[in-house]
Amino acid sequence: MSQMNMLEAIRDALGTEMAADERVILLGQDIGKFGGIFRATDGLFAKFGDKRVIDMPLAEGAIIGSALGLALSGLRPVAEIQFLGFAQQAFHQIVPQVARMRYRSRGRFAASMVIRAPFGGGVRTPELHSDAIESQFAQAQGLKVVAPSNPYDAKGMLLSAIRDPDPVLFCEPLHGYRFIKGEVPSSPYMVDIGKANVVRVGSDVTLFAWSASVDLAMRAAEVLSTEGVSSHVVDIRSLLPLDVDSIVGAAEKTGRCVIIHEASLTGGFGAEIAATISRDAFYSLQAPIERVTAPDAPYPLGAAEQMFIPSVERVVAAVRRTLEVQ
């Protein structure tokens, strides 16, 4: 057990699985000697060589398309896309090709592969680097879409993702790469994909979040506790498949729900969660479901982003609104 940040936990998982399974190879831009633009693969090139830690041409479509072919040849590719916003350049390979290969071949071919990409704002990136577009991939049936919020889950879920027979889009919190820290076991362990996790137990209101927004929800819960409000915080962790039972159970527990995400409101994944709660926990609801999201506008340049992404103040305000409904 040691203290790690998100990047260290991800790097630990990659190194662990590469040592355990020689089929595992890493593909991406600048991941070799350079160790990746965020150093997620730092040291792995030196340890495993250029046949397993492979610098790719600057072409997201070719990275993902060739990873699919590599997977079908018997390898276990883990592809890094530098920012999830750039995965749009490979959308045509991820959604209709990678996600559907098992279905189209009626089980003959499995695209057992992982696509890693950081997403989300807060670090004043240039355009397109911060876009939270995870919900666009959550419609890709055949793909699994996960977004861990802490180092323990990051390692355990990445190990699960690499061993998963189905393709996994592994969304990492760009903002929390270095400051989100936690205890991580040094031995390998799995965290199930498809399971939500209660990260704070409470009784007055339920907050739903994933990735960097979980940290935000926890900070809001702290503020609320000074006002005597007890928050139940659920880390969704897996968007596809979705842990419907845990979400419904957590909604029923308090009857007051606030969903937080960095994507814009309209069509954001919060809509899916809200609709699920409305359908399956309707008679337990005490108040309308609140969503704290980015506004319906493109991700702005850095100087404007703090107005754009959800804040502790906006979460606290949304919780107060739900509590006002009697």
């Binding site: 190879i25 390979q93 089980g107 003959r108």
Partner: protein, 367 residues
């Protein structure tokens, strides 16, 4: 004439702004008359040629049958091979199905059959049965690709992966002149060159992408000459000449197997039929052009060659036709005997296991 405008520098220091525009003669070994080109020999023996011819004739007969059934509402929208049989069969014959792979587009039926796909499977697919996409175990073939060009980086990855694992195998991937305009073509060729993947890009230039002519796809003199820009060879072959297509593809496969990397083959052929059964080519192709290509029919060419050698006559032709017709009827019957899809088939194979939500949705179908 050199353009000498622009800023004031010594023009002899400037690079030449030029590209190739002299005509390219595709490789041909067999004349449309069925005679060998002077100095050429057949790269296939009579027995191999008869097998190739049977496959070409089967493809032509299936096109006719499929169109007829489609018009009666008994078969789905599909794309005939008509006119391109030498291109497809000649290239497929250059592979060893026991180790080599085909990553297809969708207009390559006889290549899929040669690789080991049962005909009834192809029929099931175009009948709209989900299980039509199933590739039998052991058959080294990707599912048909509908999103044009998307198969190309996948083929590179597959070839590269075999190479990395030291597994013997070459990957041949099919696409057309239209698909060669896709970004995936560029990304795939570029990557294949960098990693020296054992892949053969087999571009069937049939003149048309539905109604868009080759001239609207690219200003390049040939599509093959893009290959040197990626660091490997591109060759142009008479796509209606079974001998030339086979010879060129066999050489490319041999080079890939020897570790010499990828090749781009541009097979110059012509789509004598429609893009698919929903198309009406009379709106954009003149009868005169079709007639001129019919004179270069790839099947007639092989039959004329074999007739001159005394191994093809009216009797063998009629034997072949009967045998092929029996094969097609048998496959159609097998496809008809397949049970229709059930609700379960909507969900099956999305993931290795049904998700909880899928299981719930499936149960709702039973209510």
């Amino acid at each position: 004439m050199l353009f000498t405008g622009g800023c004031n520098v010594n023009s002899s220091l400037m690079p030449q702004f030029s590209c190739h525009d002299d005509p390219v003669t595709p490789l041909r070994l067999l004349e449309p008359s069925g005679a060998l080109v002077a100095g050429a020999v057949s790269p296939l023996d009579d027995e191999q040629l008869l097998r190739a011819l049977r496959l070409m004739m089967l493809s032509r007969a299936f096109d006719a049958k499929g169109i007829s059934l489609q018009r009666q509402g008994r078969f789905g929208t599909f794309s005939p091979v008509h006119g391109q049989e030498a291109s497809v069969v000649g290239s497929a014959f250059a592979l060893d199905p026991s180790c080599d792979w085909i990553v297809p587009q969708y207009r390559e039926l006889p290549a899929l059959l040669h690789q080991g796909l049962p005909l009834e499977q192809f029929i099931l697919y175009f009948n709209g049965h989900p299980d039509g996409g199933k590739i039998p175990d052991g058959v080294r073939l990707f599912p048909i690709q509908i999103s044009l060009g998307a198969q190309l980086p996948q083929a590179v990855g597959l070839a590269w992966g075999l190479h990395l694992q030291k597994i013997d195998g070459v990957v041949l991937t099919y696409f057309g002149d239209g698909a060669s305009s896709e970004g995936d073509f560029h990304e795939a060729c570029n990557l294949a060159g960098v990693v020296r993947a054992p892949v053969v890009f087999f571009l069937q230039n049939n003149g048309w992408a539905i109604s868009t002519p080759r001239s609207r796809q690219s200003a390049a003199r040939t599509l093959a000459e893009r290959a040197p820009g990626y660091g490997f060879s591109g060759v142009v072959v008479d796509g209606n000449d079974l001998f030339a297509v086979y010879a060129v593809t066999a050489a490319a496969v041999e080079r890939a197997r020897a570790g010499l990397g990828p090749t781009l083959i541009e097979s110059l052929t012509y789509r004598l039929g429609a893009h698919n059964t929903a198309d009406d080519p009379t709106r954009y192709i003149s009868q005169e052009i079709l007639d001129s290509w019919s004179d270069r029919d790839p099947i007639l060419r092989v039959q004329r060659y074999l007739a001159a050698r005394g191994v093809w006559n009216d009797d063998t032709a009629s034997e072949f036709r009967d045998d092929i017709s029996g094969t097609i009827d048998q496959a159609l019957a097998a496809a008809r005997a397949t049970p229709p899809p059930a609700a379960e088939d909507l969900f099956r194979h999305t993931y290795a296991q049904l998700t909880e939500r899928q299981a719930r949705q499936l149960r709702e179908y039973a209510l």
